[in-house]
C-alpha cells in the first residue's frame, strides 16, 4: 500500500517544511503553522483512516543501522487508530494555536507534531525509543517555554525515568532474540518466563504510565499542564496522553502475550484508583486548567480500567467481553482527546479574554462569551457522560464490560471487578459534580470580578476549532454503531475475534450470517422499533447491544442514535404543545427572585469553593488538608482576628514526590561528604575507580 506511505511521508514533510518556513520567515508564522499544522494533521488522519480500513498492513524498512538492525515502519491497525486519535486532536489544536504562537515556540510546536506520528508507526526498539525521546524533549521544551520552569523539569525528570524503565523492559524482551524489531520481540515473547514477563510488564506499564498520567507517577501532570503556555496546551492534553496508553497497549497486549490475570488486575486496579484520585482533585480544584489536567488523569484511569478488564477477560478466555472492554477503552481514548482538546481550547479562550483562571473569580461569562460558553457546555456534557454526547457511549461500554465479570469463574477477580465498578461509578458521579461546577461557576451567575466586564471576544480560530470538536463530540456520541466497527478493526487483532458483530446486532439486514442473537430474540426488538431506518441507512443497525453469558442472562442495550432522535422529537413536541396551550396568554417578565434583598452582590452568590465543599468534607480522609486556624485577639475583650487557611497537598505528592525528593536530598547530603577538599582523598577515589575497572575487566 503505497498510498499510506505517501500520505504519511507528505504529512511529515509538510510539518518539516512548516518548521523550515517558520524559522526562515518568522513574520508569516500564523499562516505557516495553520497550513502545515492543520494540513499535516489532516493528511496523517487520512493516512490513518486509509490504513485502518485497508485489510493489509503497511510495512517498510527505511534503512539499516549497523549494529542495531533495520529501522522499520509498520502501520498496523493499532497504529492507524492512534494516528487518527492523535491527528484528530492535533488538527483543531493547530487551528487554535496558529494565531497565538510566537517566536521559536512555533517551531517547537511543529516539532512536537512531527514527533507524534513516528511514535505510533515505528516498529523497532531503537526508532521507537528515538521517536519517544524526541517527543519528550519537544514536550519539555514547549512546557518550559511558559512562565514557570520547575514543572517542566519535573516532567522531564519523571519522563526520563519512565523512558529508562521502558528501555529496560524492551531490552529485557530483546535479550532473548537477535533482532530489535517489534515483530521479533513478539515472536520471542511467546515463551518467556513468567518472572521476566512480570518484570517487563511492571517496567513498561509504569514507564509509559508516566506519560499516560497513571498513579503513582502522574504528579508532574497537573503542574505541567497548568504551567504550559495556553496556545500549546490543547495539543499536549489532547494528543500526548494517548501515546502513553499506546505504549502500554503496544507492549502489554500486543507484544506480550496475555496469559495471566494478575497483570490485568494490576492494570484494572491502577486505572480505577487513578480515576478516583484524579476526579477527586479535579472536583476541589479552583484553577480551571489544573482542574482539566486532573480530569485528564481521571480519563486515563477510565481507559486503563477498561484495558485491564479486557486483559483479564482475554486471559480467562472471554474474548467477546474482552473485545467490548478494549473497544470501550479505545473509544474513551478517542473521546477524551476530542473533548479534552475542546475544553482546553475553551479554558484558553476564557483566560485570553478575561485573564482569569480561577473559578472563584469567574462567573457570568456566558453573557459575553456566548459561543465559547456554548461549546464549553458541549464539552462539559461530553465529559460528564451525558447522552447524546460521546462520553456516554464509552463510559457505558466500560461499565457494561465490568458487569460482564459475573461470568468469570474466580471469586477474587469478581470482587476486584465489583470494587473497580463501584469506584468508576463514584468517579462518574463526581465527574458530573466537577463539571457542573466548572461550567456553572465559570459561565453562569454574576460576574465576580470587575475584569469580565471589559472582555475581549473569542477569536475566530478558537471558535472554529471548538465548533469542529463539538461536532465531532456529537457525532461520536450519536453514531456509535458506525464508530465501533472502525475501532474494532484496531481491537480485533488483539482479541482475535470480531467485536463489532458481538456489539451491533444486524437489525438492518435479516441475514443470519454473523448474527449472534437468536431470531426470536431479534424480532422482540424489532417490534419496539430497533429496525427503524432499515433500508435508508447503511450499516448493521443503530443499537449497541450485547448479551451476558449463561451466568448472567442479561441484555445490555442502548442506542444513542434513537435517543437523539427521540430527544429532538420530544423537545419539539413539548415546545409546540406549550406554544399551543399558551397561545392566548400573555407573558409577564419579572426579575428573578433573590430573597427580596436590595442588591444581590456577587460576593453573596455561591462560589466554586462552596460548591465543592460537600465533596471536600466527604473525602476529608483522603484529602487530609492542612488547616491553619489561628485566632488572635486584637484588644482584650474585643473582636478576634481569625485566620483560616486550608491547603490540600496532593495525595501522590505526599506519598511519592515528597519522600522521593527528601530521599534524594538526603543521599546528596551524605555523598557531599566525599568532597572534602583534600587532594589525597581525591587521588584515593581515582585509585579506587582504577582498581574497580581492573577487577571488572579481569572478569570479562
Amino acid at each position: 500500500m503505497t498510498t499510506i506511505g505517501t500520505l504519511i511521508l507528505s504529512g511529515l514533510g509538510i510539518y518539516f517544511l512548516g518548521i523550515l518556513g517558520v524559522l526562515i520567515f518568522p513574520k508569516k508564522r500564523t499562516s505557516l503553522v495553520l497550513i502545515s499544522g492543520g494540513g499535516g494533521s489532516l493528511i496523517l488522519m487520512a493516512a490513518g483512516a486509509v490504513s485502518l480500513f485497508s485489510p493489509d498492513i503497511f510495512r517498510t524498512v527505511l534503512w539499516t543501522i549497523p549494529g542495531l538492525g533495520p529501522v522499520t515502519v509498520t502501520v498496523d491497525h493499532l497504529s492507524a487508530f492512534f494516528l487518527i486519535a492523535v491527528s484528530l486532536a492535533a488538527f483543531p489544536a493547530s487551528l487554535y494555536a496558529a494565531p497565538r504562537i510566537h517566536g521559536v515556540r512555533s517551531a517547537l510546536y511543529l516539532g512536537l507534531l512531527i514527533s507524534l506520528a513516528p511514535v505510533v508507526i515505528t516498529a523497532d526498539v531503537f526508532s521507537f525509543l528515538a521517536a519517544w525521546e524526541i517527543m519528550s524533549i519537544f514536550l519539555y521544551l514547549l512546557i518550559n517555554s511558559g512562565k514557570e520552569e520547575r514543572p517542566g523539569y519535573l516532567m522531564l525528570a519523571l519522563g526520563e525515568a519512565g523512558t529508562l524503565a521502558v528501555l529496560a523492559a524492551l531490552l529485557l524482551l530483546a535479550g532473548n532474540t537477535g533482532g530489535l524489531s517489534f515483530h521479533a520481540l513478539k515472536v520471542s515473547s511467546m515463551h518467556i518466563t513468567p518472572g521476566l514477563q512480570w518484570t517487563v510488564f511492571i517496567l513498561s506499564f509504569f514507564g509509559f504510565g508516566v506519560k499516560a498520567g497513571l498513579i503513582p507517577v502522574n504528579f508532574w501532570l497537573p503542574k505541567a499542564y497548568a504551567a504550559a503556555p495556553p496556545s500549546v496546551i490543547p495539543l499536549i492534553a489532547g494528543a500526548t496522553l494517548n501515546l502513553g496508553l499506546y505504549g502500554i497497549i503496544r507492549i502489554n497486549t500486543d507484544l506480550l502475550p496475555v496469559h495471566s490475570t494478575g497483570m490485568g488486575i494490576v492494570v484494572l486496579v491502577t486505572g480505577a484508583v487513578t480515576a478516583l484520585i484524579g476526579i477527586l482533585y479535579a472536583t476541589i480544584e479552583d484553577d480551571l486548567k489544573t482542574l482539566l489536567a486532573h480530569s485528564s488523569i481521571e480519563n486515563a484511569g477510565i481507559m486503563t480500567t477498561a484495558l485491564g478488564a479486557g486483559m483479564i477477560f482475554l486471559a480467562t478466555g472471554y474474548k467477546g467481553a474482552a473485545a467490548i472492554a478494549f473497544i470501550a477503552s479505545f473509544y474513551h481514548l478517542l473521546n477524551h482527546s476530542v473533548y479534552k482538546t475542546l475544553l482546553f481550547i475553551g479554558a484558553g479562550t476564557v483566560e485570553e479574554s478575561t485573564g482569569l483562571r480561577s473559578l472563584d473569580r469567574m462567573g457570568g461569562l456566558l453573557k459575553t462569551l456566548q459561543w465559547t460558553g456554548f461549546f464549553m457546555l458541549i464539552g462539559v456534557l461530553s465529559i460528564s457522560a451525558i447522552p447524546p454526547f460521546n462520553g456516554f457511549v464509552s463510559e457505558w461500554l466500560t461499565l457494561q464490560s465490568l458487569l460482564r465479570s459475573v461470568e468469570l469463574a474466580s471469586l477474587g477477580i469478581k470482587i476486584v471487578f465489583v470494587a473497580a465498578g463501584a469506584v468508576l461509578a463514584l468517579t462518574a458521579g463526581l465527574t458530573v459534580t466537577c463539571f457542573v461546577r466548572a461550567f456553572s461557576m465559570g459561565f453562569l451567575g454574576m460576574p465576580r470580578t470587575e475584569k469580565p466586564a471589559g472582555i475581549r471576544k473569542a477569536g475566530k480560530a478558537a471558535l472554529v476549532s471548538m465548533a469542529f470538536l463539538a461536532l465531532i463530540s456529537l457525532s461520536l456520541g450519536v453514531l456509535p454503531t458506525y464508530v465501533i466497527p472502525a475501532i474494532d478493526k484496531a481491537v480485533s487483532p488483539l482479541t482475535g475475534i470480531n467485536g463489532s458483530t458481538a456489539l451491533i446486532p444486524p437489525f438492518f439486514n435479516n441475514a443470519q450470517e454473523g448474527n449472534e442473537l437468536p431470531q426470536h430474540f431479534v424480532s422482540d426488538f424489532q417490534t419496539i422499533g430497533a429496525q427503524i431506518g432499515k433500508g435508508t441507512l447503511p450499516g448493521r443497525g443503530l443499537v449497541v447491544m450485547h448479551r451476558g453469558g449463561k451466568k448472567n442472562p442479561v441484555v445490555f442495550a442502548m442506542s444513542t442514535s434513537y435517543l437523539f432522535i427521540m430527544l429532538f422529537i420530544l423537545l419539539a413536541l413539548t415546545f409546540l404543545i406549550v406554544k399551543f396551550a399558551t397561545r392566548h396568554r400573555k407573558t409577564v417578565k419579572r426579575p428573578r427572585w433573590d430573597g427580596g434583598i436590595r442588591n444581590l452582590l456577587p460576593e453573596m452568590t455561591y462560589t466554586a469553593t462552596g460548591f465543592a465543599q460537600p465533596v471536600r468534607v466527604i473525602f476529608n480522609t483522603i484529602l487530609r488538608p492542612k488547616v491553619v486556624d489561628r485566632r488572635e485577639v486584637i484588644i482584650k475583650h474585643f473582636r478576634e482576628a481569625i485566620h483560616l487557611k486550608r491547603k490540600e497537598v496532593h495525595l501522590i505528592d505526599k506519598l511519592v514526590l515528597y519522600p522521593l525528593s527528601s530521599a534524594s536530598m538526603w543521599t546528596a547530603e551524605k555523598l557531599a561528604r566525599m568532597h572534602s577538599g583534600r587532594v589525597n582523598s581525591y587521588a584515593g577515589y581515582a585509585l579506587f575507580i582504577l582498581i574497580l575497572f581492573l577487577v571488572i575487566a579481569s572478569f570479562i
Binding site: 409577564v588 419579572r590 426579575p591 427572585w593 433573590d594 427580596g596 434583598i597 436590595r598
Partner: protein, 235 residues
C-alpha cells in the same frame, strides 16, 4: 421514649371546629369598642380618650376606625361615659378593589408571609395558625417560602423604609392571580408607629391591598377568617 402517643390520645382533638361550627371559647379575641349598639358620645376630647384616634367624629355620631384601634380599653375605662365592648373575630373586610379568588383557586392557597417591620405580635398570631389548635392545613392553606408559588401575600408590620424594596420585589415576583392581605393595625394604617420617620403608614401606600384584618394583634381566628374570606369560602 416519651409516651407522646398516649398523651396525644388522652388530650383528644383540640383543633377548633371553625368555620364549620362557631367557636365560642373564652379569650379568643381582644374585641373592639361597640359603637354601633351604643351610638353614644365621649365625654371629653377624643385624643385624650383614644390615643390612636380610632374613635373620631363628634359626640352625636361617634365612629370607630377599627384599623387604628389597639384594644387599649381607655374608652371602656373612661369614667364619664364608658363605651361597651364586643368580642368576636370576624373582622376581615375587603377594600374597594378587593375581591375573593376565582372559584377554581378556592380550594388550596399558598401564603407568603412578609414581616415588614412588625413588633412581633402579629407575626406570632399568624404563626399560631400552624399549631394544632387552629391548624390551617386542614383548610388547604399553606405557608410557602417563595413568592413564585404564593397566591396570597400576607403582610404584617407598618412597612419600614428598609422593607419597602423587599416587599415590592416580593409582590412583583408573585404570579397572577394574587391577593394582598394586610394583617394588624400597623399594616392597615401604620398603627401606633403611624407614619414615623422610619416607617410608612401601612401597606396600601406601597402596593394595593385586597383584604384588611384589623386588630393589634388580630387573633389567629381573625386571620383565618380573613384567609377564608379571601378564598371566598365564608358566607
Amino acid at each position: 421514649m416519651s409516651n407522646w402517643v398516649l398523651k396525644g390520645l388522652q388530650s383528644g382533638v383540640v383543633t377548633t371546629r371553625y368555620p364549620r361550627k362557631e367557636e365560642k371559647a373564652q379569650g379568643i379575641s381582644p374585641g373592639f369598642p361597640d359603637i354601633d349598639s351604643q351610638g353614644g358620645d365621649i365625654n371629653g376630647r377624643e385624643e385624650d380618650v383614644c390615643p390612636t384616634a380610632a374613635l373620631y367624629g363628634d359626640s352625636n355620631s361617634l365612629k370607630l376606625d377599627k384599623g387604628r384601634c389597639i384594644h387599649c380599653f381607655r374608652c371602656v375605662r373612661n369614667t364619664g361615659h364608658p363605651v361597651s365592648w364586643t368580642s368576636g373575630f370576624e373582622w376581615a373586610s375587603f377594600t374597594e378593589k378587593g375581591t375573593p379568588f376565582p372559584k377554581i383557586f378556592q380550594k388550596s392557597l399558598y401564603i407568603r408571609v412578609v414581616d415588614s417591620g412588625d413588633c412581633g405580635a402579629c407575626l406570632n398570631e399568624v404563626k399560631l395558625l400552624n399549631n394544632p389548635l387552629y391548624n390551617m392545613h386542614r383548610l388547604g392553606l399553606f405557608i410557602t417560602p417563595t413568592p413564585r408559588q404564593a397566591d396570597i401575600l400576607l403582610i404584617v408590620g407598618p412597612v419600614t423604609d428598609h422593607m419597602k424594596t423587599a416587599l415590592r420585589k416580593t409582590y412583583d415576583a408573585m404570579p397572577e392571580p394574587k391577593r394582598v392581605m394586610a394583617v394588624g393595625s400597623c399594616a392597615l394604617t401604620g398603627g401606633i408607629f403611624s407614619s414615623g420617620f422610619t416607617s410608612g403608614s401601612g401597606v396600601s401606600s406601597l402596593i394595593p391591598v385586597d383584604i384588611e384584618i384589623p386588630g393589634c394583634p388580630p387573633p389567629p381566628l381573625a386571620v383565618l377568617h380573613g384567609l377564608l374570606t379571601l378564598a371566598g369560602r365564608t358566607k
